[in-house]
């Protein structure tokens, strides 16, 4: 299973989302998920199982398959909620799934 954070530059925003996804997965006790980041131009439908993007790119990622749109890329609560939902949707075990 691979989660990919994507932004326009592939440097600032996506890297921060990448690191925050890793933190959230750790907090949730989820294992077995690879996390990476990339710029929009270098990703395709097969780049990852789930792509995380900021709201600004919501209209640019139509062909990337399973996409999760973040209203704010630095809102940890939003990220935690959406990563947990995504994990459950993908059939991944979430040991701390009931915790907020």
């Amino acid at each position: 299973m691979k989660f990919l954070a994507v932004c326009s530059s592939g440097l600032g925003s996506s890297f921060m989302v990448h690191m925050n996804i890793e933190k959230v997965l750790k907090e949730l006790g989820v294992t077995g998920v690879d996390v990476d980041h990339a710029d929009l131009g270098s990703v395709g439908p097969d780049s990852a199982d789930v792509v995380f993007v900021g709201a600004d790119l919501a209209d640019s990622v139509g062909g990337l398959g399973d996409v999760v749109v973040l209203d704010s890329i630095i809102d940890k609560e939003e990220l935690r909620t959406k990563v947990r939902e995504t994990a459950v949707r993908k059939g991944i075990t979430v040991p701390a799934g009931d915790a907020s």
Binding site: S8, S9, L11, F15
Partner: protein
């Protein structure tokens, strides 16, 4: 370490700025003066915003102005500008900004610690609130010293 990057020279405050272009010019100024970026980097940032690229709006009134290394980064650096009145990024009412950060990264993978600290600083609600409340470089530095303490 972020404390190496956000110093009294690079942490700026302004009572009044003349729109987002002025804000970008001001926040980039210390990095230009120190030689961390070239003029082309500022131009690239301004062009991308003018082109509708409000992706640097992170939410919570914080914008992280940055482009790719090849746009004119000489060495990794970071600066900030807190504006007293929100500035509309790209003149778009949907993107009011209180705090502009200008990030110049040569290769972020070589600056994992800095990027990781930046992610924590901006994503931790209490640190972020304190950062936005800072009214001096000393305030900002005090917030930076708290990074990692409650992780």
């Amino acid at each position: 370490m972020l404390t190496d990057h956000l110093t009294p020279e690079t942490v700026l405050f302004a009572d009044r700025v003349d729109g987002w272009r002025d804000a970008i010019a001001r926040v980039a100024r210390p990095l230009l003066d120190s030689g961390a970026i070239r003029e082309s980097y500022v131009t690239a940032i301004v062009d991308s915003i003018a082109d509708g690229g409000t992706y640097i709006d992170l939410g919570f009134g914080i914008a992280l102005a940055h482009r790719r290394p090849e746009d004119g980064v000489v060495r990794t650096a970071l600066s900030s500008l807190r504006v007293a009145e929100p500035v509309l990024l790209g003149d778009d009412p949907a993107h009011p900004i209180d705090l502009f950060l200008c990030l110049a990264a040569t290769d972020p993978h070589n600056h994992l610690e800095t990027m990781s600290e930046l992610a924590e600083l901006l994503s931790d609600e209490s640190l972020r609130t304190e950062l936005l409340a800072a009214t001096s470089a000393a305030d900002t530095q005090a917030v930076l010293l708290k990074i990692g303490q409650n992780a």
